[in-house]
């Protein structure tokens, strides 16, 4: 091997060549396999690119981009989802500044994506100058939020409080509106759709199912028989039923039993179904973590005089939860993908919009490939960044462990 000690030569290129030679071309069999793989890769990439840029017909996506974003949300009220987007992106930026390790990649991706959407050369009348301006503003707000989040004016606690306030404001006031008001006329949830619904269901489902799942896991180990039996029944019944069935039960049966005037909104019903389902699985994951905590930890806490609640929240849960982060994030990712099942109870989520777009014109009907690929790409991007953040979290929590 040629190991030159000459420090003047740039070290990087020879190292890469060395690596290639050592790993890909050591021996004739490996070389042959490498060549075959390269040829195969070349054809796959080239033919996919050729298909995507020349053969594929992206009109179903490009003619109705707003449908994919917000569904039938009234166009004269578009400023409301628009403002929701601006508030959220600003918060994402702030969070990036505070937790760069987990959110940097996703945030930068969003900045580029939103800026791209602002200037994309699409000849669609629905994408007005105002909408383009909103995308550009959102892109810039992420960066502005980042600068603010990095400064000493905002800390993690404040950010979490802001997130909570904004989430409640968006989902309970800004988007649904206030009945009989002229500034914020109510928009029935039947009109909501697209990515808006998908994100609301996913985020709402994750945020609500997590604490419920933790409580169920603790309840399962409780010394109070009523709590224990309830938790076990809840977890085991829900885990024995497919999500589709649960969604049906919540959307049909709940509606049948409650009087018409106290009807719960159908999106809320679907959300409840998702939450109940995800909570049962979260509970089982958390239980695994709880079981892994040695009894000596609880004994030490008790001996110090901590009460049961303090022992659980200060000693047991922090250790148990960090053990099960990968499992729980996996659970959240599948919850996110499972939101597509709400299509069967008539909710117009991203997939629902995709289905309806195909029926917009007879020409579109054969373009299923394009539409579903587009939707798949959106889901993949979000899932990817979620597992990326989880990996970073695992790494950073591993520090100082015994």
């Amino acid at each position: 091997m040629n190991t030159t000690s000459d420090s003047v030569t740039p070290p990087a290129p020879p190292r890469m060549l060395e690596w290639i030679q050592k790993n890909l071309f050591n021996g004739w069999l490996n070389s042959a396999l490498t060549l075959i793989a390269l040829v195969f890769l070349y054809f796959v990439v080239v033919s996919s690119a050729r298909w995507a840029f020349f053969t594929a017909d992206w009109r179903p996506v490009t003619t109705a981009p707003l449908l994919f974003l917000v569904g039938q949300y009234p166009r004269e009220q578009l400023w409301r989802p628009g403002l929701s987007m601006l508030l959220s992106t600003f918060m994402i930026g702030i969070s990036w500044g505070i937790w760069p390790r987990y959110l940097k990649a996703f945030s930068i991706f969003l900045v580029v994506l939103l800026a791209g959407m602002a200037i994309v050369p699409l000849e669609t009348p629905t994408i007005t100058l105002g909408i383009r301006a909103a995308f550009l503003a959102a892109s810039l707000l992420i960066y502005a939020g980042y600068l603010l989040g990095r400064s000493k004016f905002v800390n993690a606690r404040l950010a979490v409080m802001l997130w909570t306030v904004i989430a409640v404001l968006i989902s309970l006031v800004l988007l649904p509106g206030i009945p009989k008001s002229s500034a914020l006329p109510s928009v029935p949830t039947t009109a909501w759709g697209g990515l808006l619904i998908t994100l609301l269901l996913a985020i709402g489902g994750i945020l609500l199912s997590f604490p419920i799942g933790v409580l169920l896991a603790l309840g399962r180990r409780s010394s109070l028989p009523v709590v224990k039996v309830f938790s076990i029944l809840f977890i085991e019944v829900i885990r024995g039923v497919p999500l589709v069935t649960i969604l049906f039960m919540f959307s049909v049966i709940l509606a049948l039993f409650l009087p018409a005037e106290s009807r719960i909104d159908r999106i809320l019903r679907a959300l409840m179904g998702m939450v109940v389902f995800s909570a049962a699985y979260t509970a089982e994951n958390v239980r695994g973590g709880l079981q892994a905590i040695p009894p000596g930890q609880v004994e030490a806490a008790k001996a110090l005089g901590l009460n049961g609640f303090q022992t659980t929240t200060l000693i047991v849960l922090p250790q148990a939860l960090r053990l099960v982060i990968p499992a729980i994030v996996g659970q959240f990712i599948s919850l996110f993908k499972d939101t597509t099942l709400v299509v069967i109870v008539g909710i117009n989520d991203l997939l629902g919009v995709g289905n309806s777009v195909l029926k917009l014109s007879p020409e579109f009907f054969r373009l299923q490939m394009e539409v579903y690929l587009f939707i798949a790409a959106i889901f993949w991007v979000f899932s990817y960044f979620m597992s990326y953040a989880s990996l970073q979290l695992e790494k950073s929590l591993g520090v100082g462990e015994r």
Binding site: G296, A300, K302, G305, L314, G400, E401, R402
Partner: protein
């Protein structure tokens, strides 16, 4: 009352305990005066750990009475909490909280149980770390410390609650020989400062140096008790003699 010096700080009368049908403690009687250092020793499985854990009710006794600092241990949670405020415990396996730093391990209970402000708790914690000789380890996590250092942190953690009584369950048994001395030195220093201590240990050097009384446990009973002189120089029971001869060979 605890203000009267004659009154023993720990009183155990006819304490019994069963694990299922297995009779672990068979009528233990013991009185410990304030400031006394008591060493408990005996063969494996004789109930030493079980007994010392009944003093702060990590184990419940099923018959007899245990009174700690004037408070009787019953099913009343308030009594149990009151006793746990007065007693610190050091375990064989250290049981430090791995997700907290050394400093956080020590300040946790003072902040949450005694409701001290954080800076006061940290000041006291640093003084205790000085006392056990490892102030520089404060920002580290337990997993980054040696066994001897971890056990010294565990002692500091228990002392931070300013207990009147310290319970030790084989504090040096999980340590490599070269680390035993650093922990025993801290314990000897603590004994000489007037702390009331109950120590389950087979470190007879420690017993000789600071114990006021020794209790020999076998099969859930106290076979023999006395001062270290009496136990080492003139044991009365054959079982004590046999056991001592076995452990003193090493």
């Amino acid at each position: 009352m605890s203000t009267e010096p004659q009154q023993p700080i720990i009183v155990c009368k006819d304490v019994h305990k069963w694990f299922g049908s297995f009779h672990v403690l068979r009528g233990i009687n013991m009185e410990v005066q304030k400031g006394e250092v008591v060493v408990i020793f005996g063969p494996s499985g004789s109930g030493k750990s079980t007994f010392i854990r009944t003093i702060n009710r990590l184990e419940e006794h099923q018959r007899g009475t245990i009174i700690v600092d004037g408070i009787e241990l019953t099913h009343d949670v308030r009594n149990v909490e009151a006793v746990r405020m007065e007693t610190g415990m050091v375990f064989q396996q250290f049981n430090l909280f791995p997700h907290l730093t050394v400093l956080q391990n020590i300040t946790l209970a003072p902040i949450w149980v005694r409701k001290w402000p954080k800076d006061k708790a940290e000041k006291v914690a640093m003084e205790l770390l000085e006392r056990v000789g490892i102030p520089e380890q404060a920002p580290k996590y337990p997993g980054q410390l040696s066994g001897g250092q971890q056990q010294r942190v565990a002692i500091a953690r228990a002392l931070a609650m300013q207990p009147k009584i310290m319970l030790f369950d084989e504090p040096t048994s999980a340590l490599d020989p070269e680390m035993i001395k650093e922990v025993l030195d801290v314990m000897i220093q603590l004994a000489r400062s007037g702390m009331t201590m109950l120590v389950v240990t087979h470190e007879m050097g420690f017993a000789r140096a600071v114990a006021d009384r020794m209790y020999f446990f076998d099969q859930g009973q106290i076979v023999e008790s006395g001062t270290p002189q009496e136990i080492f120089n003139n044991p009365k029971e054959d079982r004590t003699k046999l056991f001592l001869s076995q452990i003193l060979q090493h």
